[in-house]
Symmetry: C3
Subunit: 348 residues, 3 copies
């Protein structure tokens, strides 16, 4: 795959500086060669512009004149996504429905879909146009996979789950496993059968080995455009809004509501029955419960304003042993002062 810089610029609606060239790939400033396009987003790495061998650099205006050839953008990441898309090769090596797949006679697989060997499509399940179901995937009975979906190897969609268009399930993702619901009885924990479902709206991506449980009775829902990283746990009945970013190893307890455009950084834990307002951003490893205001910036367990956490845990915490010593010294000195004062009094 090769493309002229001028053609690329036109395709993206951007201007370029320097003479035209043929671009054959995309790489980092450090690794790009003279036939590659590279990019600069973070000013922190601007000095790499002096040493990069990249034939052309996609960057914003202020940096464009620091290289011989620049593709000038006001949203470098977005245009980078578009450029990489041009060079990207989809995963996989087969097309059509394999004879080594199991497709239930009552399932409906679109003529343009691909189903790999050892994939299983259950009764009355639907696989939409151009969707690809890789080896080892399971699509349970009565489940529906939209159009243009990618179910990477060993992804599991249990029965009666609905997945919108353009959804990507990374390898080993599990949708619709049973929620963790048990009644306490004198004979131990009695399973409450989980008869609800999961709805994943369009353009959602779900990471490798992430698990999203079906609702106890109604619906666990992941809103349009939300991106979920690897090894995330989402409990039953959870409602995740649109365009959220949920980073690796986050855990969300049952029945919690997550608003739109929320960012949960890595390993965050959210209790069950919590409510997180739109646009909240929660720092990595935080633990939260209850109601979180929209737009909050929080950190810590339990969460506090991120700035407070930075001071409290970052600066104060390591100095706690010192603080205890200082308070002890103060107590001693104050006693001495009081004793002296009393002594003085006694002298009078």
């Amino acid at each position: 795959m090769k493309i002229k810089l001028s053609a690329l610029a036109e395709k993206l609606g951007l201007d370029h500086t320097g003479d035209d060239m043929e671009i054959s790939g995309v790489n980092t400033l450090e690794k790009a060669g003279p036939e590659d396009l590279s990019f600069l987003v973070n000013p922190k790495y601007a000095q790499l512009l002096d040493t990069t061998r990249a034939g052309c650099v996609l960057t914003s205006g202020p940096y464009a004149d620091r290289v011989g050839r620049a593709l000038v953008s006001s949203n470098v990441y977005m245009d980078l996504a578009k450029v990489v898309n041009i060079f990207a090769k989809p995963q996989g090596c087969l097309q059509g429905v394999s004879e080594l797949a199991y497709v239930h006679p009552e399932a409906r697989v679109d003529d343009t879909a691909t189903v790999y060997p050892f994939a299983f499509i259950g009764a009355r399940a639907v696989v939409g146009a151009r969707s690809v179901v890789f080896p080892g995937c399971y699509v349970g009975e009565d489940s529906a996979i939209g159009a243009d979906c990618l179910l990477y190897p060993n992804a599991v969609v249990m029965g009666s789950v609905t997945i919108g268009d353009k959804v990507i399930l990374q390898p080993g993702a599990v949708l619709g496993g049973d929620g963790f619901g048990f009644a306490q009885t004198p004979f131990g924990h009695m399973k409450i059968p989980q008869i609800g479902t999961v709805i994943v709206e369009e353009s959602v991506e779900i990471g490798s080995n992430t698990a999203i449980d079906r609702a106890a009775l109604d619906t666990t829902r992941i809103g349009r455009g939300t991106k979920i990283d690897n090894l995330v746990q989402i409990g039953h009945n959870v409602q995740v809004g649109e365009h959220c970013l949920i980073i690796g190893q986050v855990g969300i307890g049952g029945s919690t509501k997550v608003g739109n455009n929320v960012v949960l950084a890595g390993q965050v834990g959210v209790a069950d029955n919590a409510e997180i307002g739109d646009g909240a951003m929660i720092a990595a490893q935080s633990g939260l419960a209850g109601k979180i205001e929209p737009g909050s910036r929080l950190a810590g367990t339990p969460v506090m304003p991120a700035g407070t956490f930075l001071k409290a845990a970052g600066s104060c915490m390591p100095r706690l042993p010192e603080l205890f010593r200082r308070v002890k010294a103060l107590e001693k000195e104050l006693n001495a002062v009081k004793a002296a004062a009393n002594g003085g009094n006694d002298d009078e």
Copy 2:
């Protein structure tokens, strides 16, 4: 599936108020329609009784007269589990041993068991009566699966693992992967082969993508009735007692002993060689090591009494910067007092 309220009440040994009706499903107070049964456990949601459209509500005595028809229970969750069980439809769409499965000639699969396409049953492995092995599952050589078990898609039971009756493995659960054991040598980490096994006792449930390692030499054991959530890590040689609840993303280090009726909330980390007494409850995200007394209520890393943690981390922690300022002010003022006193002394 429909059932008369009177028949349901009789089946459960409960009384009902209001006239008889035909129940066709179960749902939450908010989502239930006039043909559905709903339920109230938490008094916090009692006001929903005023607006629910549910035809009948399963609840405890004090709330029964707030709705037209109630099914009166002294253990609502337990009776809910029973009711939902009546309406629940099992996952799956096939029965019997598929010709597309691989069953080793020396394996023994009960006549009443189901083995789906692309499941693998190894040499001398046993699958018990009425158990169901979904697509993509692996049951290694010499492993034994009890009766009435469910192995959901892509669950892995490595060789020589023993699983009791009525055990449920959610999708992607891994039993008997190698424990993490290495000898430090001048040439790097040398693998200590893990030749022990895993025993899972009856009525255990294991969550999606949870991993339970085989012992180095003897046995990793999960006690009867214990329920383990998704993405939990259980190291080699761990002994988990009976009727525990281990919530999502908990990690338990090697050789740790967990008593009976222990609750480990989400993302708790337990060091290796720890010992947790019966009935202990550990709050989410806590980190613990050493010996934990039976009945403890702990939180934090390292753990402390849960009430102390709530005060220390919840109230005190965010006010640490303020405390440092107050101590500094005290030091300054005390110095001033002392200087004044000394000044007084000088004057004398």
Copy 3:
């Protein structure tokens, strides 16, 4: 499998005490019988030497005379690894390439390799000598698996990933899933296709259901001899050095560099773009970012010296409510002292 103690000693280049015997297995001091060899590493368990029924104990010199028969070693764990290796039986029950596997016509599988039923080997993929690919594994197009590798059931190696010799993938491990990279646009998060790869060097072990993402553009790399436990998340572009130990449920953010011989204990979280120096050891559940000096011993979120954390979080934290009370009391008393002093002044 049985071996004479004298033969074993010779094989390992060790001396033994006591008369010769035939050893038929290895087990713990508590579980070993008279035909078993056992071992003692940790002096803490030395009193078990008095009661063990083991026929022979592998241990270091100081303990050898406390049992009738000892195999004397200066690196007990290393020699234990060698002994267990003699008794270990490899997982699995088949050999050769199964007719129930899918091997792409353009794939190259070594004659001595084993590919189980329902494994998928993509176009131009290579599987090296004596490597074993268990059921449900996926080896994507253009990927290369070295010699003597074990891909346990349902391990996934996406396209264009390279795996060195003697690598072990535990069940459900995912290599080369897409990194979590999105451009923020007015229309939501736009996926940046992840066109880089993953390289796993020789003698690496990767735990059950662990996920290692492919790089955005270049390479995610796991260095020679590094051992990764279960449910670990490694983001795109991460560089892990040689001979590291990365314990269960650790998460490493994108583009982070981990040096050689680093130990990250369970549930540690590392931010993206961090840099961890050689030989650093990070305590369980810690959270770190930025640059970490070689040889550091750190703990906490954010990390501080491990000794400081132990004091601050272990001793000081639970006493914070008390400290607040003490400071309040000091303030009150100091005010009283000042008032008294002022009173004195007034009197003058």
